[in-house]
Amino acid sequence: MDMNLSAEELAFQQEVRSFCEATITPELKSKSYNGKRHTKEDVLGWQRALASKGWLTPSWPVEHGGCDWTPFQHLIFEEEAYGAGAPRLVVFGISMIGPVLIQFASDEMKKEHLPGIQNSTVWWCQGFSEPGAGSDLASLKTKAVREGDHYIVNGQKTWTTMAQHADWIFCLVKTDPDCKPQAGITMLLIDMKSPGVEVRPIQTMDGGHEVNEVFLDNVKVPVENLVGEENKGWTYAKFLLGNERKGIAEVGLSKRRLEHLKSLAKIEQAGGRPMTEDPDFARRIAEVEINLLTLEMMNLRLLNAMTSGSPPLEEAAMLKIKGTEIQQGLTELTMAVLGPYSAPFQPAGLIEGWNEELAGPEYAAGAAPAYFNMRKSSIYGGSNEVQRQIIAKTVLSA
């Protein structure tokens, strides 16, 4: 047992670091650290650079363009990239539908859809949640009825992240309304340009626009867009959600937030001294830092366990709970460190191209919105209550 990086790991770290330095501009880095909004181009630029390097889909099987990295390499990559100011990847293609297609789709479908993900030319979004079915996917209501060589899809999806940029959506739909809730679910790929698909923005309380409602009104979907078999969508969804685990802890991103917080605490003052010298504030930073060190070890242990088989489901749920608590704690402290200067609401200041003067320092405008926005992390992707339910079920049945 050894915490030190091996010579190979150190070399890999250096390679990632150099790549990031060459790829990520200082402007992009500053945007990332200060919580300003990344444009579609920011994200695509980074993803395409990774694609050129062959690093966009490292978790995929090697024969499909994966990197065969050790768990520690994945972690090194994540930490270096986020530390260097990389935007978050849009995971819907890379980590969600991609692996599902590799595992379950026909060769034709793979050939049609995998390259767009690997080159980052196609933007995917996820059509799982519905009004009335948040964390309770089994009760979804969107229906697909087979008519000749098409499905006719009717229904509504919601909380659809980044649907406004998306080219394709993968949807869970109900194909057999008469059987047990989970049994009649099917997974379809739908072209967002299909007639009858309408995207309406949902403005969240931080003033941002990340999520959407997607209305599906008599949308014609060719049967070729059926993933795997009809009525097996629940199996694919579970596989997909299980896959989500790997990045669930968000250690790299939280490390960046912690670094940023510490740098602000050195600048901002209380009682005429830097906040880092305020014992209460120093304690609060230390507490979240210790939680993050702990999360990092939990995550490492989980990744390590995954190399020799599937890890216990409840550990992934724990990572989700603790990881989101840490993200929320970090955004809360980053707001708190600013004191009164977190109050001005300047959404325009978070958007590229806005050159007017801000009230307060450069790094202040994004702080409160980030805190407000981060409340979502314990709600979306299976709320933390659902995670606790998963743990309880696993543990009490053992």
């Binding site: 948040g134 919601t158 109050a343």
Partner: protein
Amino acid sequence: MDLNFTEEQNLLRESLSRYLADNYSFEHRKGYLEAGSSLVAQSLDEMGLNALTLSEDDGGFGGNSVDTAIVMEELGRALVTEPYLGSTVIGTALLAGKPGDVVGNGKSVAAALTEMGGRYDLNHVATKASKNGDGYKIDGSKVMVLNATDADTVLVTARLNGDLRDQAGIGLFAVTKDAEGMSTKGYVTQDGMQAGDVDFDGVEAALLVEDAWPTIDKAFDQVNSAICAEAVGAMEAVTKLTKEYLQTRQQFGRPLATFQALQFRLVDMMVAVTEARAISLKASMLADSNDVVERNRTVSAAKVKVCEAARLVGQDAIQLHGGIGMTNEYAAGHYFKRLTMICQSFGDRDWHLKRFIG
């Protein structure tokens, strides 16, 4: 010892509550914010609320901080963004001695007390006051001044002598709306209030209080008592909203309210509100006291509890609502934002905990 509200106080609460129920639903509020204006401030003035704590000699009702707390609680419940706190409460508190000139007759004020780098310490005053004939000239900058753009008069602290953070040597001055050299950069706050940063460049000002620290300190306590009450109103409203949501919303085939773990979360919210209400009431009784130590301690104790409660209630209201709580179209998020900002106004939890320890 007497813990009962007077009949007048009960009437005050009821009439304001009725007015707001009729005129300040969440839908009304949305309209007012979109329009950028409303007649609500004027109605509150007509109800006499701006004169509530002025002495009867000054045409007021001789009320105290308990009366203010009653008003603020109702305003908090309705999430009123009109500047009652930022103008009337802080204005009358600072001008206790001679209110007639600047507040109370439909005139509005703003208090410019906070400076960049001073965080929550109102003794951090770099802004300078210098003699200018019979009067004074003010040079410096203030930030996060509530009601900055609309005030008829800006009350401003400026240093007459002493070092940056000395409590001694701070004067309280009045500057009129159109005074030359005063420039205001207005903005909306995260929770929908009007505020701004104000620069003073050789601005003519009238000295109101020469050795103003005791006045500022007392006003600070009165304002904190008032926002504690506002928070209590907001917390109670959002807790009720959450309760009703849990009772209505079905998941896994039954109402969310039947899940024991969620019930207990709701209970913890209610306990927090009850605690906040109890200690805030004490703060409102002591906020007008001249026993500085006891007043400071009690108000800080209340603010600490209110900050803890507001954080728990606000965060859990969103969490228990799930996705809908995150959206801007729904009231829960607005309560959450206001509660969050209350915790960062006029001293946060850590600041007040330190003052309590002494």
